[in-house]
């Protein structure tokens, strides 16, 4: 029930090369110096300082999920954290998950299912879904889980609850759920 392996593996992805991270923050496998101004949110650091504009700013107040990135395997809202508090941490953004040349399974599925209209929420949705699949694999419960002491099971209701931190102003929810459902099934098949 309480594993701890998958999240850690997720965190290490692409960071095998980085040894000494003092004074730096690892972004998609590359170490970067921390910003000089402590006010810089992780979101602004990614977008303004590093030009990684895949991560989006929707509300800047933790209310939409457009800024979701994965830090040490855990998805967080990059708008509500200071870059300078992440010394030594490993951050994966949408650019680290895949690009046009080599999209990830989730990115493929979002395209195949038309899981977007304007696409503004999409990077956050995909980062969130990537981490969410690891959380289910770890057996973490959600508010939609009937029995807290049993293994988490996969259902549309679980996807909706677990993805509730990512709003989509275009209302592409039905196709987002379909895309994630497909990937979850695909990954399950791949490990059998």
């Amino acid at each position: 029930m309480f594993k701890g392996t998958i999240i850690a593996k997720e965190a290490a992805k692409g960071f095998e090369e980085i040894q000494d991270m003092a004074g730096t923050i690892g972004i998609n496998g590359t170490a970067h110096s921390l910003p000089a101004d402590p006010r810089t949110s992780l979101l602004d650091f990614l977008r303004h300082d590093l030009g990684l504009t895949g991560t989006k700013k929707g509300c800047d107040h933790g209310q939409c999920g457009a800024c979701t990135v994965i830090v040490n395997g855990m998805r967080i809202n990059s708008c509500l954290t200071l870059a300078a508090m992440h010394e030594g941490d490993r951050v994966t953004t949408i650019e680290g998950i895949g690009g046009p040349d080599a999209p990830s399974d989730l990115q493929h599925a979002f395209m195949a299912h038309d899981a977007l209209q304007c696409g503004y929420c999409t990077p956050g949705q995909i980062c969130s879904a990537q981490a969410m699949l690891a959380e289910i694999a770890e057996g973490w419960p959600s508010d939609a889980t009937a029995d807290l002491t049993s293994e988490a099971t996969f259902s549309d209701e679980e996807i909706r609850e677990r993805m509730s931190g990512n709003l989509c102003r275009c209302g592409a929810y039905a196709n987002i759920v379909a895309a994630i459902r497909d990937v979850a099934r695909g990954r399950a098949d791949a490990t059998v």
């Binding site: 029930m1 309480f2 101004d37 402590p38 006010r39 949110s41 800047d60 107040h61 933790g62 999920g65 979701t68 855990m74 998805r75 967080i76 809202n77 509500l80 954290t81 200071l82 300078a84 508090m85 969130s128 981490a131 969410m132 959380e135 770890e138 057996g139 973490w140 419960p141 959600s142 508010d143 889980t145 807290l148 002491t149 909706r160 609850e161 677990r162 509730s164 931190g165």
Partner: protein, 328 residues
């Protein structure tokens, strides 16, 4: 955001010491403090980063309870096997709050100390006694849907918005506080948050020169656990009303009823008299109403939030009805 200096506190007592300065704030997950700093509701000149302090463990206590460090994330608490097994009301309350992204950052200490979501509190051009003592309370005759119906004062009608502490109140958990000199004191969660009275800016027992280090849960209390949260959408919204309950029913009679309520007051609402009404009596609708009468005897709405009074009654009734069904 106003400029500030960011320092890393080397130990809890150093962190406590740093808070002696009224312009210093501790920062843990940052999900509440940074939000308010962007709005200039909070304008500290120094932030003391406590996120790497050695208070991020969940450990068994000698008496069989559980000690949850102040820097344990809400996620880590909610997924912990013993919390899920022995204190499901707490796991449920946390999982009903915010989102996975926020819970991954939110900490025990930060969650306890989170500020109200009163609209006027977050708008610095509006009068608010909590933010700007003496300026008046805009909510009393304004937008007050989220506001309190119990324990209000003519100075402030804000609510404590959190879920975790409501479950901790039902469980009678204890908050551990370290002082600057390294000594510790503890306060029951039930007494940690304060009513607004004439000092709405004082929200909890913490004084300058203090830091929360942990919350301890008593040995497993048994019973059936419920956390029912009513909100405006089914996820990612604060409670309008919530009920945390630890219930035991034997032979159709209540033998335990520890009840705490969220969304109704400036603190998680706990009054032993509510559960006492139920004890030793056969469960029926009339009895549930009697308990709700005790809960709501002093309730007062402010227009927009009048609905909370009948809603609290119905939510309590729903939880008790569920408990009776489950026990049958």
């Amino acid at each position: 955001m106003q400029p500030f200096e960011l320092v890393r506190a080397p130990s809890p007592s150093d962190a406590a010491q740093l808070t002696k300065d009224e312009h210093t704030r501790l920062i843990a997950g940052g999900t509440n403090l940074l939000d308010l700093m962007k709005l200039q509701v909070e304008t500290p000149s120094r932030l003391a980063d406590i996120s790497r302090l050695d208070c991020a463990e969940i450990t068994d206590t000698p008496d069989g309870g559980l000690r949850i460090g102040a820097l344990v994330t809400n996620t880590a608490t909610a997924v912990h096997p013993r919390v899920r097994q022995d204190y499901p009301v707490l796991a449920r309350a946390i999982l009903a709050g915010a989102t996975q992204q926020l819970r991954n950052k939110a900490t025990t200490g930060g969650n306890l100390c989170q500020r109200t979501r009163c609209f006027y509190f977050t708008k610095i051009d509006q009068p608010c006694n909590k933010r700007d003592p003496g300026s008046g309370c805009s909510a009393i005759e304004g937008v007050a849907k989220l506001h309190a119906v119990l324990g209000t004062s003519d100075q402030c009608i804000a609510t404590y918005p959190g879920d975790m502490a409501v479950a901790m109140s039902a469980l009678d958990a204890e908050v551990h506080i370290m002082k600057e000199d390294g000594t510790e004191r503890s306060v029951p969660v039930r007494d940690f948050h304060l009513l607004p009275g004439d000092t709405p800016w004082r929200e909890n027992e913490l004084g300058r020169g203090e830091m929360i280090t942990a919350v301890t849960l008593p040995p497993p209390v048994g019973g059936a656990h419920y956390y029912r949260k009513v909100r405006e959408r089914s996820s990612y919204a604060f409670a309008l009303v919530s009920v945390a309950a630890v219930i035991e029913i034997e032979g159709g009679v209540f033998t335990r009823a520890d009840l705490a309520f969220g969304g109704l007051a400036h603190k998680p609402w706990f009054d032993p008299a509510i559960g006492a009404v139920l004890l030793g009596k056969a469960a029926d609708d009339a009895l549930f109403d009697e308990a709700a009468d005790v809960l709501l005897q002093s309730a007062r709405g402010f227009g927009e939030n009048d609905f909370k009074i009948p809603l609290a009654r119905r939510t309590l009734r729903a939880v008790l009805t569920q408990a009776v069904e489950d026990a049958a």
